[in-house]
Symmetry: D2
Subunit: 221 residues, 4 copies
């Protein structure tokens, strides 16, 4: 796999003991983080034009679905009184539009979650925090995570780190992630490649999915 | 408090709904992350000259101890067979020097942990992951976290994010954190200020500690 | 508080180093576990006549609401494909009626959750597992848990144990809990009193709530 | 497998939708909970004569080691100031003998943990709480848990419940568990069989281990 998320810094990073590699397994899952209207629609202050990111995810999902790879969507959604939101309203006031049941928390319809693809409400940056994602992944026999979505510098990166901490090889297809701040996007892909997982291209991700050897259907399906 | 971790980007960040502020409480704790010899001694590949960071922590700890503010140290340490290490050996091969009982995992002696300051072994980037830190903080009545140590782009940032997710106002005194890569240091302080907590100066942290109104002694002490 | 959950065994338990006491604080929350129609309506195989338990909770909730004590309801609810259910369908096949959006997962209307009382979906016995309850309790400044509901031998007990592990004094008003198996009810109250928290009477719980000294309103409210 | 942990109550339990069965996989791990001197040596108030339980574990471990099945030992151990102990000192005062580094927390030498068998310090009843057990199990490719040790009514039962919540089939060989209170032992095996996992005999556990089809060595070994 390509590793240009480190760029010219690779020799430095490797000389200091980082930038190693994790090996994907045969039973990946796709974690699509926060590709909800609130983030993909510029009507919302926290939104951005993410058409390219959405298109990249559409292509990735087509490849995953063709091989029965499990897909999980995540959306942050809060009560109107924000009792479930911790300090999100103070630190990220724009996220107060993410109300349970509102348009803003609906997954972007271009991704069209299927009936067998859970849409999981989360309350914190990580898709693992305050959810039973770990149990769902074990039930599905998953051994590898492909993390996509927004923002690279927040929920994508935090989900990738938690996946690593839980012992999963994590792949992050760069075109499938976005950030309203391009420098933050690059800086976080750099950190992920240095210490957490593998930043790959969408082409590499699709090739990996196509070459999976076995039957990847969720055993519970 | 100063907010220059965002610099010129503050208007942009605020216009997009981020960069809000969290309010520190009256019962902080100091979390000193990974200031072990393996990281502070250049004998080790993963080490760096962190004399300035250590000195800043010495000053912070003096102010904290003067007010009986609880202090917790964290050090990553692994079994020789790395059964407890997840994918750390693959992704961060330099961290394989962090063996339980070795010099590399000992807290830098300049920080001189006191008998009443727990030194907690962790296995993952976050000081919360795989530890009972959350319970210890509740037992100590802590309502605010001051996170310091190394690396800004890995364990400091991940601990800060987990603190935020657990509902704590998080303060990060910038001089008390370090990274072998100055750009990664800056990029992660930027992310923290934008979405997670408050990046402050060491002077501000010391002033905050000095002005605590009440008795901050650990009730269990 | 009374301690007859141990009955004649108290001297034995105490002689072996257990049966100590935890001290409630001034900021309790009520956790009402699984008092959903599926469990309180005998139309369902997993249901039972819990009229007395419901009535006891109604009285407890009235006392709590009169003092602005935070109340959290929990209900187990699953997807039709049970991808979120772990091994519940195998081990507890009767719980397959607990489908998201169905009557069975609705909180018993006699308890009438208020708009400011979160109803939280859980997937496992504990109200803490796979939820962000810990963060919600911290945000609400809670220092004590009153755990009620069904079944004493499953979700109530497991929630009480997790509360203890998180560092909370846990109170369990015995009349507010129920179990389709009276022996299991008694055996689990015994275990809770021996090692986890305080089994009290409904009268004691109401008295405790009435004598709270301060303002218990959720600061986020 | 036999199911007499429910005894005559099986028809009742099944009629109410519980008492189903989980199917063990091909890659079990043994979790030996709290078989430390503090619990197995009658010098300690919290100790009991557990010679039979220890002997049963010796036989189980021999069968496990013969097939390279991973073994994990757990011991509760606290700091002298109990800052890491939550409410254990208040509720379980006898457990204050479980000091880090003391005889009381050493695994019973008759079990003789091997160098490749981690001995993990825990602070709460569950072997999962405040440890990275989940990550270690994933790294070892484990799909089934065999839980043994003491007390049946506390740490064994809580670990079994957490294993279930994490999505693992849990087996509890009854002779390998003990409790200073025989009624509590029976009551908790009943609850486990009703809702959590499979209570089996030691013979059944040994037979299961002997008939494992494949290579069960830890891939990280």
């Amino acid at each position: 796999m390509s590793h240009d998320a480190l760029g010219d810094a690779r020799p430095f990073i490797e000389s200091r003991g980082f930038g190693g590699h994790v090996t994907p397994g045969q039973r990946p899952a796709i974690l699509v983080v926060d590709l909800a209207r609130g983030f993909t629609d510029t009507r919302f202050a926290i939104g951005a034009n993410l058409d390219d990111v959405v298109a990249a995810n559409v292509r990735l999902l087509a490849a995953a679905r063709a091989r029965d790879v499990p897909v999980f969507f995540f959306t942050a959604a809060y009560r109107p009184d924000f009792k479930d939101a911790g300090l999100v309203p103070q630190k990220q006031p724009g996220c107060k539009v993410l109300l349970i049941g509102s348009d803003a928390v609906e997954i972007d319809p271009r991704l069209a979650p299927r009936d067998n693809e859970p849409v999981i409400v989360k309350k914190a940056p990580s898709a693992f925090f305050g959810t039973n994602l770990d149990t769902m992944l074990r039930a599905a026999g998953v051994d590898t995570l492909i993390v996509t979505g927004v923002s690279t510098s927040a929920c994508v990166r935090t989900t990738a780190v938690d996946g690593f901490s839980h012992g999963f090889p994590v792949l992050v297809p760069r075109e499938c992630c976005g950030d309203r701040d391009p420098r933050a996007h690059d800086a976080n892909l750099y950190d992920i490649q240095a210490k957490i997982g593998e930043v790959i291209s969408l082409d590499e991700a699709v090739t990996y999915l196509r070459t999976l050897s076995g039957d990847n259907r969720d055993p519970a399906a």
